[in-house]
Symmetry: none
Subunit: 205 residues, 4 copies
């Protein structure tokens, strides 16, 4: 199943149409999930006809994929910038900034963020998510490199960055989902402790 947009709009009017469709779809996805998303409803919400929708998106999945890509991109950019800017100080501060970013920096609200995660799977956009994970992991690695001397010397920075990214992602998901087994009140604190302990403990623990 082809999930690529059918054509990129050239005229201004067409651009507006596509934008409206993506926004409308994101709303519906957030409110009702992928199952109940309907091309007709998406078009209606966007204030255009179904025909117009299909002019740009060959099928329902392509539409959802466009939403995932659109907002995923935005999210990655925001997140990367947030942790870069928060990393001027100590390692401890940097890690704190990362956790903070994971918990709050969804440029579009946690609802939509949760939706995107869920939808990405159903739409063969796992690669997109993976790419974003990678981008973030690389950024983290750079930041860690700036604190090399504080980190256990036998730790491979790439591995460590990957693990940290994983933890951040998990924490973000659980926060967003209101998962009951989240670390009681002080999730942020526990999480920082986890990461710092991992980074700074010498081998053999």
């Amino acid at each position: 199943m082809d999930v690529n947009p059918r054509k990129i709009p050239r005229q201004a009017r067409a651009c507006a149409t596509v934008e409206a469709i993506i926004v409308a779809t994101a709303q519906l996805l957030t409110e009702q999930g992928f199952e109940t998303l309907t091309t007709a409803r998406a078009a209606e919400r966007a204030g255009v006809s179904v025909g117009s929708l299909y002019q740009y998106f060959p099928n329902k999945q392509a539409l959802a994929a466009a939403v995932v890509d659109h907002y995923g991109e935005k999210f990655a950019t925001t997140f990367v910038r947030a942790i870069e800017e928060g990393s001027r100080g100590t390692l401890r501060e940097s890690v704190g900034a990362m956790i903070h970013a994971a918990l709050v920096s969804h440029p579009h609200g946690p609802e939509l963020h949760r939706t995107l995660i869920e939808v990405a799977r159903r739409v063969a956009r796992d690669e997109k998510n993976a790419e974003i994970s990678s981008r973030i992991a690389r950024t983290i690695e750079k930041i860690l490199a700036g604190h090399r001397e504080e980190i256990a010397p036998d730790l491979d920075l790439a591995d460590a960055a990957a693990l940290v990214e994983t933890v951040l992602e998990t924490v973000a998901h659980r926060a967003v989902e209101g998962h009951p087994v989240s670390i009681a009140g002080d999730m942020a604190g526990q999480c920082r402790r986890l990461i710092l302990a991992y980074l700074t403990s010498p081998a053999r623990g």
Copy 2:
């Protein structure tokens, strides 16, 4: 939407029917996913008529929910027993056993495990998943309590257990999904280091 089974079968034959339906549904779910599951196919695979299926399950979601509950239960039991039995030795060994269990002990194969996770969401069975998480967390807490002296004294064991459970679950998912940002080769090793560092490092890192 009511997701509860319509009635509990009393006679042996009826029990077998229900069992067959659940097994058949689980198979279809694993092979083709939730989207393509149909009550007709489930009934056919189980060797009964749709009518019979509806005798026991009021609707499609109830059917899926039954599958989730059935196998979720099995999984929790297996997992809890596995980590309990692996916890006779040192803290280090216990943690190793937990990770091992997370990576391998899906009594029904990772395929179905993955499916169940996915389906549970679609069927408002998050509570079921949550309950399982809790059960596992409590078991972990008990195990940690057995090694209190090795663990940083300021760590709240419930919090710690929750965090550990979270990490284990994440690791299990990523393994099952083949997530690309998994910790390079030695996921198990990195993971153990993470957990042990967290548990044993004194406050302040």
Copy 3:
């Protein structure tokens, strides 16, 4: 595209349903052609729901194919019997009977006959038509064999039968279509002359 019926009805009720659907479809096909045939309309006309239609026919073409098969079969039987019964007398009389049959013996009216021809193509049922042609040609060959001595000795009877069948078919079509270049008033007469001349003229003409 699969054009075979989905299942053969077992219960009486189901049989009636299928019958009704085929009849209704034949009517619509006759009245409006294949293009405008709609599964919904066919079901409605048959007095059943679309769902029921799809229980027996996997798609629109299969439905049309069923009609073609159903009536094609009837037609072939009627036609073959008609020319066999009309062939008790002379060669001249036999040929006359064939032409007569071609012009009148559509058990279901020429309208539907025309429709069937047209539809058969669109539905990959050419083989069906071909098979019917063959059956008729073989019958004609048998009849001709009964008059061997009157027929030019160098004529291959199979070839001759094929040609005669072709002519009959063409004549039938043109009659049914009201083709303007049909042989003025006396199509039947001209046609008999054509065939008899062909059969009885010595080689080299």
Copy 4:
């Protein structure tokens, strides 16, 4: 439904556009049939916009009709010329020429020829086909008139021409369609025999 072209282009550029559209449509018709022909694709293939297409053709049928007319005209001309030129010799030779023409002289290849036959029906252009048949029949009649003395005196030449035209058309169709009940190997030979026998046999067979 109006099937006439919307306007006749006067300027050279417009003429070229119309020509391009007709050619493109004919290609699509040949490659994919009438069912899948869309105005958008026709326009695209012709290198113009849909809007332009609708400037000249009020609707899809008109477009198809134009194609039928355009190539039908060409075909008739070619065919008539071919049989006229082949009729300088004996009756036998003339008939041979006709058959040859029927089998080969499709100025645009049998594929397109077949398509045109099929499309003509769907587009209420039967008259066009009828007119072509008439034209050809009249030409045949003229040719037959040149051999009056060889032909059975009681045969009406118009009737005979009509019958001959019918046979030629049938043969051409079957050849183009690869009809299985075609006269074994020597279709041309059998056909000539058929026609000559008809023309020259005295009444009463």
